[in-house]
Amino acid sequence: MKQGSENKHRTPAHIWLCWLLLAGGSLALWPIRRGIDRHAGGLGEHAETLYFSSGKTLRALSLGHAGLLADIYWTRAVQYFGRKRIARARRFDLLAPLLRITTELDPHLLIAYRFGAIFLAAKPPEGAGEPEQALQLVRRGIVANPGYWRFWQDLGFIYYWDLKNYKMAARAFETGSKQPGAMVWMKAMAATISAQGGEFRTSRLLWSEIYRQAETETVRRSALAHLAALKADQDIGELNALLTRFRKEQGSEPGSLENLVRAGYLKAIPLDPSGVPYVLGANGKVTVGAQSKVERHLLPESPPPPGADS
């Protein structure tokens, strides 16, 4: 009788086996999954899949939740862009389709047009280097949101900065200045670009305006980096002019910027916007130092600093 009672309370062997399989199986899943991930070369390709290529189809299938889907697609576009940028990728194949789907799902998602255009237009590895796609995106934004004047500012900016098409840039700023609620400086910008084309002052005005309007830290940092690069570019131009003068007057190569100081052409070696002294490059032109925080790829001409591998 007692033995029977003990048997009744004893956990059957198959239950223990089930617990063992459950725990063991769960523990084994992790290394197996990691092993598969390590050996599956197609994982990157998998991440590059769009699944749906039409925002309009997705919109119809969303059963009234297109806004939420647009937010998800915008987040996907941001994540995709961020991942590619960190990896210093040169190709951003899915960026334009992701932005198109996002804006087809929610044509009023202004941020997707504005930042999406910045992502698309910037040169690799800062962006996709597809300014034409950026123009298309902003134009779609204008059609869907005709009252939003800032799209004209974005359009003008892409023409000015990325395509160096100053005539079209001036026209975009001019059209934008006529939209209701447009800032007064839009008209000034159109006039300045028409008169001076690609001048430092104009570029600085544009980037300062973007910095002032920036709603996120990413855009603010990007604007600051461009402003720093513009200042460095201007300084480098002036220093190169001094070098030319030195060669003409002294009839020899300066060898270093210190010699310019010794010869009285400079009071001291100037510092770039990140506080690092400029240096004379191997090709005899001034450039930013190896320690400089100025983003080298933003400079129009950036000779390697002395001692650099290249």
């Binding site: 009234g64 939740h65 806004g67 939420l68 647009a70 937010d71 915008w74 994540q79 929610d106 941020i111």
Partner: protein
């Protein structure tokens, strides 16, 4: 009569609560707050927009599921359990039973939606650290979501009187999906070139419940107010449709043998 309908409605509400339906609300609120914070950190510039879209869509989807899955059992469950005999042996008329059941589930959904709305506004306050006048706009979308629920519960109740719970759920969900595509169905008919097909699609367009007019979540998230005409006509449309559905359910239920 009013007293009897009220009693049935109250018992339907109590039964729904007893089914632990309301527990999902806590999960919903936690998910909402958690995902709002998460999305604010992994996205760019859409913290509030995402919260409003996610919050309102969750309210709509959770509520829709409840409307369908509780609605399909409103009558069939009473028949299966044979409790219908007890109820109808009392001085309760069949139409009172149907109206009471409908109102009871609507009360459940109203309480449910109110709690979810509370969770939504708590999350909104957590993200924005303030609540302003523009934050009242999502209430318009929530009102439209409730109008959708009213029609869906009507459909579920009607099918519950006719068919089995599984088929009722299937029919109700299919009609909800079709109701979101009625504009496309009508357009297909116009494009087909067939006069008969065109007439059929026009008939379907007017007869089946049109849910696409109630989809204002995205507009609300962008701070666009629902025009007063749409607000009034949407309310009238929903009320009329619910009246038709309940009338049909009563007619079917009156003829039903147990």
């Amino acid at each position: 009569m009013i007293q009897r309908i009220r009693t049935i409605a109250f018992h339907t509400f109590k039964e729904s609560v007893r089914e632990k339906v309301l527990y999902n609300l806590i999960v919903f609120a936690l998910l909402l707050i958690g995902s709002a914070v998460l999305f604010a950190s992994i996205s760019l510039g859409i913290g509030r927009l995402m919260l409003v879209n996610l919050g309102l869509s969750s309210i709509a989807i959770f509520g829709l599921l409840m409307a369908i899955f509780i609605g399909i059992g409103l009558v069939s469950k009473e028949i299966d359990r044979r409790t219908i005999h007890n109820i109808l042996s009392k001085p309760v008329r069949r139409f009172e039973f149907i109206i009471g059941k409908y109102l009871g589930l609507m009360l459940t959904l109203l309480v449910n939606t109110s709690i979810m709305t509370g969770g939504f506004y708590m999350a909104l306050y957590y993200v924005e650290r303030r609540l302003g006048g523009e934050d009242l706009l999502p209430l318009e979308a929530i009102y439209f979501i409730l109008l959708q629920f009213a029609i869906v519960v009507g459909l579920a109740l009607l099918f519950s009187c006719i068919s089995t719970p599984i088929l009722s759920a299937f029919f109700t969900f299919c009609l909800y999906v079709i109701g979101n595509f009625l504009g496309d169905i009508r357009w297909l008919g116009q494009e087909s070139g067939s006069r008969i097909f065109e007439k059929v699609t026009v008939l379907l367009y007017y007869v089946l419940p049109n849910f696409s007019d109630f989809q204002v979540i995205s507009q609300s998230a962008h701070g666009i107010s629902v025009p007063p005409f749409l607000l009034t006509s949407g309310t009238l449309y929903a009320l009329l449709y619910v009246t038709i559905l309940i009338s049909a359910a009563i007619l079917v239920f009156e003829k039903r043998e147990f």
